[in-house]
Amino acid sequence: MAGSPSTGEPPSSPPRRRFTDRARGAGRAAARGLTSFGRSVVILWRVLRANPLTLVGFVLVVLIAATAAIMVTVPSLLTSFGVDQLTLDYNQAPSLHHLFGTDGNGIDIFAMVLYGLPVDLAIAFAITGVALIGGGGLGLFAGFWDRPGSVGGAVSVFIMRVTDIFLSFPSLILALAIAVSLGRGVWQLIVAVLLTWWPYYVRLVRGETLAVKHLPYIMAARAAGVNERRIVLRHVLRNVLEPVIVYFTLDIGTVLVTLSTIGYVGLGVNYPTTPEWGSMISYYQNAGLIGTYPWTVLGPGAAIFITVLAFSLLGDGLRDVLDPRSRRVLAGTPSRPSTSPAEREEEAEEVAGEVLEIPGPLPSAQEVNAPA
């Protein structure tokens, strides 16, 4: 074996180089001299470019976020109407002045859809965020400290059984029931949905944690003297995060639809004092305006559709951004500095020489065997 230098490890010629050479060349030029943040942006751009649908989702999400930010700070940039502002234009069809038309009270639908955007996003993020952090934290605990017979094991069993109880109800029905008992309003809506939302995150994170915690690198970290808290927070959590973030992003769409459903059956917030898309549709439907003035519901409906679509598209491609393994392949960023062919050859010779010098295990075994 010592006589076959060509099988020695050639550290200077990764096979990837061949087919990503062009992209890497471009990447090197672009990424050179950038800060770490700049490099991340370049990588993000390449990943997005490789998945056009994700790019669409990403652009939509950025637009939605920008719109929401403007509506919170200076709404006059996008609309000249205030929340619940009555005008004298009753039941107007969409026009340049009223993009989505107006309702029977002269309220501008486009303005209300815009005002509803930050409200809907805030409610959706509050629900999924608390579910992610709270439910995910419980799931991480239940997955990691599940040794039977220990205190942690007892706590995890408790967490999982409570989770099972919540999961045994159909979540929408349970949310509606809670919403009925709490009454209408933003906080009531958040609590009602949240109470049915967190168990999924417990399940998901616990499952991922159980899978990750038995992998060799966790054992290796433990052997290296890393304490358990740090193993959970650094080594387990980081590897659990990818599927969870993806689920979270897709979940924002789901929770928006659920909000709209609850709003639609009339248990959401008080429209028009609080603009919220689901309640908005419900309000105009109950007012009997769908048939004669369809634009009153088409506006908020389209808003729900686009927002849900945006987060779903983004979520699908997010895994590629988060996973270092697919990130580099997609982005084609240089992982090694360029060396000239001559340098590479030289290096290979060096390596080959090293291999040749090493005595194989065979002759040494015989040495040991030889009579002294």
Binding site: M1, A2, S4, T7, G8, E9, P11, S12, P14, S36, F37, S40, R147, P148, G149, L215, P216, Y217, M219, A220, A221, R222, A223, A224, G225, V226, N227, E228, R230, L233, R234, H235, L237, R238, N239, L241, L322, P324, R325, R328, S335, R336, P337, E347, E350, V351, E354, V355, I358, P359, G360, P361, L362, S364, A365, Q366, V368, N369, P371, A372
Partner: protein, 381 residues
């Protein structure tokens, strides 16, 4: 090398309880590892050698494993009695471990720099007296360069994973020249060409041999007194294996670590170990200096193992195999566990378990065998 052993395993027994069954994976094993020595442990699959290796730093999942009895004396304390939550302070700088799967032993989500830096900072923290572990008098390298401030070091240990804080912390760490230099030192130590490039790579971008070298760098950077290498080269192909073994041998001398080297490959053991323990069905059947044990095996199992190995005795003709199978450890055979497969088994072997640590006549010092008829072993054809 006549001082007290780095680790002294005395009469250790470990059971696995699976369902209603109880498997004695390790039975009454005693083993001393002295400073600077490499002690090999060989045996067939399922003989308990990995269980023994993982039991020393208490890495066995308990349950299903239970340490039924015995002591593991390390730095004046019995590790069997140390509560598990205190073990992280002993692992790493005290006892560290290299695993069988180099391909999965690095966290896929972090760059090489982060992983090696984590190992180094564990040692730095211990050296600062957070937990006193190391008893080494002379550091093999110049560690006078220390991280300058606690704040910088705290920043170099990102706690919030993957997020902006971790990124800021990582940049802070990369700007932290001392730690970075030390990481580079260790990567150079394990003969990695161009370590600067490796720093920003993820584990999946390295070859198996490179990953194992990074693992070795991480383990050595903590300067453990005892290193348990559980088949560290089994997953590597033969050329890389040779490189890694040569590297380990050199490093043992440089870092002065004791190694418990677990393997099923006699060639690898012959290459690396000073002393060798042969395990069979959870028992240590023979122990001795490698040369003497290879030259003069005094247990029928060792002899059979050597005869089945392509590196010895047989230069032509077919290799011999050991008839029969490893016994089921939930119901081990009575008496000597090897007797159903032993060519020189006698009625006594069926009744009495083999003697522990009896030195047969005509062997080197510290060479012991657990065979009733150790004197007859050389006569086995």
């Amino acid at each position: 090398m006549t001082d007290a052993p780095v680790v002294s395993i005395q009469d250790l027994s470990i059971d696995y309880v699976v369902g209603a069954g109880r498997f004695s994976a390790v039975s009454n094993v005693s083993l001393d590892v002295f400073r600077g020595h490499v002690v090999g442990v060989v045996g067939e699959t399922g003989c308990g050698k990995s269980t023994l290796g993982q039991a020393i730093p208490r890495l066995l999942p308990e349950p299903p494993a239970y340490i039924r009895g015995g002591r593991i004396l390390f730095q004046g304390q019995d590790l069997v009695k140390v509560p598990l939550w205190k073990m992280p302070a002993i692992r790493g700088t005290g006892i560290n471990m290299i695993f069988q799967e180099p391909l999965n032993s690095l966290n896929p989500a972090y760059r090489i720099y982060d992983q090696v830096a984590e190992a180094i900072s564990i040692r730095h923290l211990r050296e600062k007296g957070k937990t006193v572990i190391s008893h080494r008098e002379t550091p093999p390298f110049d560690y006078s360069r220390r991280p300058t401030s606690d704040a910088a070091e705290a920043l170099s240990r990102p706690v919030i994973p993957g997020g902006a804080v971790a990124r800021v912390a990582r940049n802070a760490a990369e700007r932290h020249p001392e730690l970075r230099e030390e990481v580079l030192d260790y990567l150079r130590l394990v003969r990695i060409n161009d370590p600067e490039t490796i720093l920003s790579l993820y584990p999946h971008e390295l070859s198996g041999g490179m990953r194992q070298r990074v693992m070795i760098a991480m383990v050595l950077s903590e300067k453990p007194s005892l290193l348990i290498a559980d088949e560290p080269t089994s997953a590597l192909d033969v050329t890389i294996q040779a490189q890694v073994l040569t590297l380990m041998k050199e490093l043992i001398e440089e870092v002065n670590t004791s190694i418990l080297f677990i393997s099923h490959d006699l060639g690898v053991i012959a290459e690396t170990a000073d002393e060798l323990g042969v395990m069979y069905a959870g028992k240590m059947v023979e122990f001795g200096p490698v040369a003497d044990l290879f030259e003069n095996p005094r247990h029928p199992y060792t002899k059979a193992l050597l005869r089945a190995s392509p590196t010895r005795y047989k230069t032509d003709g077919p290799l011999s195999s050991i008839p029969g199978n490893v016994p089921n450890l939930s119901r081990p055979p009575p008496g000597c566990r090897f007797h159903p497969r032993c060519p020189i088994a006698k009625p006594k072997c069926r009744r009495e378990p083999g003697p522990d640590h009896v030195a047969p006549a005509g062997v080197a010092e510290r060479h012991t065998s657990a065979c009733h008829y150790a004197q007859e072993v050389p006569g086995i054809p």
